[in-house]
Amino acid sequence: MCLAIPAKVIEIHGVMGKVEIEGNVREVGLRLVPEARIGDYVLVHAGFAAEIVDPREAAATLEIIRGAYQAPGEAAEDLEEEVSGA
């Protein structure tokens, strides 16, 4: 029931708006993400945008995976610090 692929906000009209996802345009409710702006990427579920996806965090995840797992033979023990909520 959930879509894991982020959709891009292309229009906003009050609590409704339009998003584009892999070339398809869909009308979605924006009631749950009042701070969304055109150009933001959102996760869409059951006709509503549920959350804004943060591109900086996506980049950070990628950097961690690329960086910390690079050196072969070394356990990626430093990774834990990069995860929040510890």
Binding site: A46, P55, I65, V83
Partner: protein, 383 residues
Amino acid sequence: MTEDLSEDLSQKLRQLRDAGLAPPVLDSIKRRMRKLERPVNLMEVCGTHTVAISRAGLRQILPPGLRLLSGPGCPVCVTDQQDIDTVIELAKEPGMVLTTFGDMMRVPGSDSALQSEKAAGRDIRVVYSPLDALKVARDLPDRTVMFYAVGFETTVPMVAATLEMAEKQGLSNFWVFSVHKTIPAALEALIHMEGARIDGFILPGHVSTIIGANAYKPVLQGKVPAMVTGFEPLDILRAVDLLLAQLVEGRAEVEIEYTRAVTEEGNPTAQQLMAEFFEPSDPRWRGLGIIPGSGLMLRERHFRHDACRRYDLAAVRSRLPAPNKLMAACSCGEVLKGALLPGDCKLFGRACTPAQPVGPCMVSSEGACAAYYMYERHRQQGG
């Protein structure tokens, strides 16, 4: 957020799908498993993870001794048989237009299914969003339009937002039948259940965007390692690696791997809306029994939209069919607890297939049995 950053996101997500990044993460997983020197059971509680794991074949590349179990993460699959039968019965009420997500149509009732009722002429409509159900109510003011609200915290705020619109628009013919359930309460029940040994939880990404990582802490912190995880295969591998790291270090914390969408606090707007319309209830889960405080029913002040008050449910239930023999042999409940893998069910792939499902775990595209049938039937466990 600027255009550049957003363009950057699609690129980053594409790169996260780069298969070349997986081997070093897998190596780290193997090293940690060698350090642990014991079998490890990790459980995911999200249908989208179930499908992602099966589709990517992750179970087959993980080292022996490391098992990924599917927990009660598919909302269709955890819906109790009595609720399923009750809604099938309600579909027969005069004037009723039943609206539902598509997955519920084929879920077997004890002697019928919504799909067969529709074929028999009942007005049952598949919707993609509760907003579509609201539109039906607006278009058909003389009918009773009921939305079959199945889902976890990912779906509840959407239903609440739709109820808010119904109230603003003064629509008195829009009703919600809530079998909503909440994940943290189910996790708590699972860790206290006899026989289930769960060494770590791969926590759902979408539920967590709404409730935030903090919502799990009262239940899991200090007890079982847990990782809020995204949906790319690499996200899942990394979460597995980080959970093993916690086990190696003897920690049991709630952490976030899926930082691009999930925060500690979650989505406050969604939480407020949920709390405005719903309050905790004590529902029965398939396989897990009654879990106090793990459901959400409409608050009394919104009773005008509560289908459970519109109909005399005790009377409806007294008319329900007797349990069906074949369905009694379905092991969905055991699968949901992680006590059995789908392939261990005697009916799997024989009496029960996606074309002819016996239990909801084979119906829902997110169900563990359906995912195994689709992607793992012919694969070997362990690599």
